[in-house]
Subunit: 251 residues, 2 copies
């Protein structure tokens, strides 16, 4: 079922491995999801954007924890010093002036209550399961696989370049100020993805490890996709909200 | 957002705790999900039933593993001897003549390939994340919470009594033979649920433990609900199948 299931069977050069990884992004990254197109073409209601921001917060909140898990598996101090930057980016100096705080600014800028978002109480169970699967993956799998699962960042500058101008143009209540989260992300993501890609190119030196790297990136793309699927199922035009989850009509 | 979030604040008698748990089932068990009603009213296509059976297999397959995890946390030999029956029910004498094998019989009876189903390759990522969350819950939480999360079995005789006669009546290709999985389940589930309920009534003896028990059952209901949500999003009339997942039109 998965066109990448045997991609590394005969072994790949680092360049060929990188090509497969970039193909995965082209076919499976969540900028291909219908919900992303609805967002960038101005078709979402404010309630649907709120649901997106509120659920995505759960993902943002787990990023430094999964990166800490990766640090805990890394024996090389130089690797740890580089990877640590990701945690600094998200937590900032005091925990609340980095990427997570800027995501909260986006959520509150869309009209949500800060503490409610941070509590994650209104998030979809499916969001929690996906985010939990990411933390479990980085806990249970090899360092190489956990690093490879971060490679969706190779594609994030593209989705941000699609999302930000479109949101500013299509939704009159969306301002540059509340989208501040995205401002440093393309530079940070490119730096991080370059490092992770070089690591993967160097360390995936057997067909088995190459396949594990490929599977890790497919897993991560599936996860981001499933998060948008869950939003569509709950808040889409034919959706129904599961019991207990955020309801834009009963804020 | 969750009407049961503070239900045990002032402490509950065992009977009052049981009442709250039964209320959770009434409002949140997945026999309330629209997909269950579609199934029992004959509205599902064969492909949609296949997708249900194939994804639900992942859940069946993890049950003995989560029960083994519960055994591993139990210090009381009498508890282990009782709880062990669940593993025996699902695995049978040789691994392949218990509940899991009977679920495969259902899936193949609906026209699916046995090895394909058992490989879980075509399952939705969202199914995998939900099932993984169940195993993680039983790994990370207290024995009491893991036991409480099994209490959805209190409600399973009801859903089975709704599902089986309706499937036989509404789908001409569904026979008693392929629904053999469900035959022993009401008796097994009642026995298991009675034991788990008595355990919970006895051991949840503080407001904190009672709330943890309530939250565990809500978590489990949310999980079963999310599995049906994922099926609806992928295979419903307005659905779209995520990349790589089972496609009834391309078997």
């Amino acid at each position: 079922m998965n066109e990448f299931a045997a991609a590394a069977r005969d072994g790949l050069t680092p360049d060929a491995l990188e090509s497969v990884l970039r193909e995965i992004g082209l076919s499976r990254y969540h900028n291909r999801h219908p919900l992303h197109h609805k967002m960038t073409s101005g078709q979402l209601s404010k309630g649907q954007l709120q649901a997106w921001a509120l659920n995505r917060y759960c993902y943002q909140a787990v990023i430094p924890r999964k990166d800490a898990m990766i640090l805990s598996h890394a024996e090389d101090p130089a690797f740890r010093a580089e990877w640590r930057k990701r945690i600094e980016d998200h937590d900032g100096d005091d925990g609340w002036n980095g990427g997570i705080a800027r995501w909260l600014k986006l959520a509150t800028g869309l009209g949500l209550d800060r503490d409610f978002v941070a509590s994650q109480r209104g998030a979809l169970p499916a969001t929690r399961f996906a985010v939990g699967a990411y933390l479990s993956f980085c806990t249970d799998r090899s360092l190489l696989e956990a690093v490879a699962s971060s490679l969706t960042e190779l594609f994030s500058p593209v989705i941000i370049s699609e999302r930000v101008p479109a949101m500013l143009a299509r939704y009159d209540y969306v301002t540059e100020d509340i989208l501040e989260y995205f401002k440093p992300r393309p530079v940070q993501a490119s730096r991080d993805a370059d490092y992770a890609l070089a690591y993967v190119r160097q360390h995936a030196d057997t067909p088995e490890k190459q396949q594990a790297v490929i599977d890790a990136l497919v897993f991560k793309c599936d996860l981001l996709w499933a998060m948008l699927d869950a939003l569509e199922q709950a808040y889409g035009d034919h959706g129904h909200i599961p019991p207990g989850a955020f309801d834009p009509k009963q804020p």
